[in-house]
């Protein structure tokens, strides 16, 4: 293992540590948002939305940093960077990537939890969207923006 690869693995572990913290904060925010939706608490919904927005914004720089590290590792190992995953990197690095391997496990677990929260909120949101649409239609009628409102239901069906 070259000195360069060792240094890249250390930087990748640092990124994973940072990403793990971000995922935990995101999970907390999603939990709070789920509560806000359940309680129809507009203010809490706005506040948690803002926190999620900040997390998403912070994620962009981490994503760029991760992409640079992966590109350098791909070049060092003469492989396509898009084919690298944390699991394949740990396998290639062997004993030299123990920390990264541990962090990868924790990060996977945390990301899975965030995904579950996301799916639950998505389901919740879909139902709420329908209810809100129905209530608004009863109160203000369908004229004008009825189609627009239908298009505006922002639910990720894939989730």
């Amino acid at each position: 293992m070259t000195k360069e690869v060792r240094a890249l693995l250390i930087q990748l572990a640092a990124w994973a540590q940072e990403e793990l913290g971000a995922q935990r904060r995101l999970r907390d925010a999603l939990s709070e948002q789920e509560q806000a939706i359940r309680h129809v608490d507009t203010q809490a919904l706005s506040e948690t939305g803002k926190r999620i927005e900040e997390e998403i914004a912070g994620g962009a720089s981490r994503e760029r940093r991760r992409a640079r590290l992966m590109t350098k590792l791909g070049r060092a190992w003469a492989v396509d960077p898009s084919a690298l995953t944390l699991a394949s990197i740990c396998e290639r690095a062997g004993d030299g990537a123990e920390d990264l391997l541990r962090l990868r496990g924790e990060l996977r677990e945390e990301a899975a939890q965030v995904a579950r929260h996301g799916r639950r909120i998505t389901a919740l949101a879909r139902y709420h969207g329908g209810l809100l649409e129905e209530v608004m239609r009863v109160l203000v009628g369908e004229a004008g923006d009825a189609n627009e409102k239908r298009e505006g239901v922002l639910v990720n069906a894939k989730a």
Binding site: A111, A115, I121, G129, N156
Partner: protein, 782 residues
């Protein structure tokens, strides 16, 4: 684990659905009367122990509650009850205000003023037929206003009673609604739910009930309410006890409730207001107008019946009130005057009847004693028939009818006897000798010896104990009766008279040739004539003519006695004075008729009375005297008013007061004087004086004051009601605002909340989408 999550998610979805549905329900009912804002009560569900861990199980809606402040609602119900009462009162009062006519100057007060003004105008020229017509017109207008008010108040009472029936039916229907809602609410709430909308409907029904009657609402544990009206159950858990309208023994409307004998004392709400309006309020106002009209009729008729029209006395008169056969024996004559169904009371007193000789102008005055406890209709008719040249009977309606003989008229005025010395005992043509004042201490068998004419026939008149109530205190009347009944006296033409307690002995013949000699006798000492034994009393060729004028203005009846202070000739003898004494012996005037007095000149005596003396000689030695009866009230018994004889108004109260029909047709029949003399306005002035006199039947108030108090009290009530409504409205508005804050729906707020949520929710959805995408990338990377 996944089952727990699924359940948690499902509960949160249902909770949110309840909340959103409730917001929609609130907005949809924002304008529904009585709707109470609802809110979903959310509670955290108890945690579930799983694998030694306590896991949260989410949230759920425990209940949908109405936002209600029960205390506030009770206060609002109370105010609604007050409001209902005040508003129904105000409606009635406003109607009364209009019918009183005070706003357009056509009220009784103004018309009474107009009536008295027309009397005042007539008093300036009592003989003027046009002015008399003005009085008649004013009286007709005043009567019509009284009648109108009375009829309108009766109509108002009838209409109000009819409206009471409608309101009571509404109460029964509302009570049925409350009962039906009670049943539904208890059924639903028995399952643990809250029947919010049904409770709202019941609250609306209860508020409507409270607007009509004063209710007390008691909520039972099962959610049903019992409704009490003035302590009586209107709605129980099982049935409604219906209200109905009935009448009190006094004819006022009242409310009764099914299953109870007594009246329900409803005092609040529309029904309470209507009851007060139809009962005490209209009743009291009507009673006050009746009282005013009754006393106006009584006082005006008291004066008018003893007056004389400008045209003079009456040849015939018929009363306006009929005698009733109260003992049902077919005979009206045996009815007691004071209990013969007459509209005004008859009390003990005296009725003065004047019969006027239209040819000579002589007035024949008679007094008829009326006893409240004894005098019957027949006795009155007999007494009237005893008056010469007057006859009385009952017509077919039972009314007293009076008829004067041809050449005579009659009246009941307190007129003065214009020629009070009819027998000539005051310097008259007859030979006349008088005594001092009675009583006279005679002894049984006393005699009076006379020769009539002097040197002619002698006679002796004996006085025996049997002729007197008390021979030792004989009266002038008893002595005169003995003398006048003596055949010897009658044969020689000697007569005696009682002049206010003084015995006057006279010849029937007049002039200087008429004379008699007092020969002696044992009675002379008792009569004060001891000095006249053997003296001859001679008549005069020039009889003194004493003429009375004016009208008596004093209080109470009296007798004025006129006596000279010395012997002398009127207009010639220096110091010749005529002293005037009242009934108590007080000298009230000293009239100088001696040297310098022009015979025929009127001299003021007292209390509106004047006297003039013609030429002639007066003798204090012979106790010349004449007496003048003065009467304040010619009918102290009010029998004329009761019988409606020569009345101005007929009727008894505001409902039937009217100007006497024949006066309406011929206003010159209005009595203007107590003498019947042309230009005499004394009766009219007495009528005018009524304006400022306290009237016994009006608790001492004048007509104007009584009416003013009546209207003032009404105005105060009206004003108080308006003020109370204003205050109540403010309070109700304030309470309503408080209720709105607690229970009302603010559509804007609810919509804004909903839109805000929608926006926040959409934003959150956006982030979640991004998060999900990022998360997918991350999981792919791992």
């Amino acid at each position: 684990m996944s089952q727990l999550s699924l359940n948690t998610g499902l509960k949160s979805i249902l909770t949110a659905r309840y909340m959103l549905a409730t917001i929609g329900h609130n907005i949809a009912n924002a304008n529904t009367p009585g709707y109470t804002r609802q809110r979903v009560e959310i509670g955290n569900d108890p945690p579930i122990s799983l694998g030694g861990l306590l896991l949260g199980s989410g949230v759920s809606a425990s209940n949908v509650q109405r936002s209600v402040d029960s205390l506030l609602n009770r206060r609002i119900l109370t105010q609604v009850t007050v409001s209902g009462r005040l508003e129904s009162q105000l409606v009635g009062m406003t109607e009364i205000e209009g019918l009183l006519g005070e706003l357009d100057g056509q009220g009784v007060g103004g018309l009474m003023d107009s009536f008295f003004t027309s009397i005042s105008e007539l008093s300036t020229n009592p003989d003027d037929a046009i002015l008399a017509s003005g009085v008649a017109q004013a009286a007709v207008t005043l009567s019509a206003q009284f009648n109108g008010i009375s009829n309108n108040l009766s109509d108002l009472k009838r209409d109000t009673t009819a409206e009471l029936g409608v309101r009571v039916e509404e109460v029964n229907l509302l009570a049925d609604q409350v009962l039906a809602l009670n049943l539904e609410i208890t059924k639903i709430e028995a399952s643990g739910s809250t029947a919010n909308d049904l409770r709202d409907q019941r609250d609306v029904a209860l508020e409507e009930l409270s607007r009509r009657v004063d209710t007390r609402v008691i909520e039972e544990a099962n959610g049903a309410v019992r409704v009490l009206v003035a302590g009586n159950t209107l709605v129980s858990s099982a049935r409604v006890y219906e209200l109905s309208v009935t009448q009190t023994p006094g004819g006022d409307p009242a409310i009764e409730i099914e299953g109870s004998d007594g009246f329900v004392p409803v005092s609040g709400g529309t029904i309470g207001g209507l009851l007060r309006m139809a009962g005490s309020f209209v009743g009291e106002l009507s009673s006050e107008f009746d009282q005013l009209a009754h006393n106006l009729i009584l006082e005006l008729n008291r004066l008018h019946s003893t007056g004389v029209p400008a045209s003079g006395g009456f040849s015939n008169l018929t009363g306006s009130s009929a005698i009733l056969d109260l003992d049902k024996d077919g005979d009206l004559r045996d009815e007691l005057l004071s209990n013969a169904g007459l509209p005004f009371d008859v009390s003990s007193g005296v009725l003065l009847v004047n019969v006027n000789d239209e040819t000579t102008g002589d007035v024949d005055q008679h007094q008829i004693q009326i006893s409240e406890t004894h005098t019957t209709v027949g006795e009155l008719l007999d007494a009237l028939n005893d008056v010469p040249n007057l006859s009385a009977d009952l017509d077919s309606f039972g009314r007293v009818r009076l008829l004067a003989d041809g050449g005579f008229t009659f009246d009941f005025s307190a007129k003065l006897d214009q020629n009070p010395d009819a027998i000539g005992s005051f310097g008259g043509g007859r030979a006349s000798l008088g005594t001092g004042e009675e009583p006279f201490a005679l002894a049984d068998g006393d005699t009076l010896d006379l020769t009539v004419p002097a040197g002619g026939t002698s006679l002796s008149i004996a006085f025996n104990t049997a002729d007197f109530a008390d021979v030792n205190a004989a009266t002038a009347a008893e002595l005169a009766a003995v003398i006048n009944n003596d055949p010897g006296a009658q044969a020689v033409g000697i007569v005696a008279a009682d002049v206010n307690g003084r015995l006057i002995l006279q010849t029937l013949a007049e002039g200087s040739t008429a004379d008699f000699t007092v020969d002696g006798g044992t009675v002379l000492g008792a009569l004060g004539w001891a000095g006249f034994a053997g003296s001859t009393v001679t008549g005069h060729d020039n009889a003194v003519e004493a003429k009375i004028a004016g009208a008596y203005t004093g209080d109470g009846d009296d007798v004025f006695t006129f006596v000279p202070n010395m012997d002398g000739t009127i207009g010639t003898t220096p110091g010749l004075i005529v002293d005037v004494f009242d009934a108590t012996g007080n000298k009230i005037a000293s009239l100088d008729v001696g040297e310098g007095y022009t015979p025929g000149e009127e001299l003021a005596v007292a209390e509106g009375i004047t006297v003039s003396f013609g030429l002639g000689d007066l003798s204090a030695t012979h106790n010349d005297v004449f007496a003048l009866d003065v009467v304040e009230d010619a009918d102290t018994s009010d029998v004329l008013v009761a019988l409606g004889i020569n009345s101005l108004f007929v009727g008894t109260d505001a409902s039937d007061i009217a100007l006497r029909e024949d006066i309406e047709l011929d206003p010159t029949l209005i009595s203007t004087s107590v003498t019947g003399s042309s230009g005499d306005n004394t009766l009219l002035l007495d009528v005018l004086g009524l304006q400022n006199q306290g009237v016994e039947g009006l608790e001492g108030a004048t007509f104007g004051r009584f009416y003013g108090d009546t209207i003032g009290n009404f105005g105060f009530e009206l004003s108080s009601t308006v003020d109370a409504i204003g205050a109540n409205d403010s309070l109700q508005a304030s309470l309503g605002l408080l209720r709105e804050q607690v229970s009302g729906v603010n559509v804007d707020e609810e919509l804004v909340d909903l839109v805000k949520y929608e926006q926040a929710f959409q934003a959150a959805s956006q982030f979640i989408t991004v998060v999900n995408e990022l998360n997918d990338e991350l999981l792919n990377l791992l």
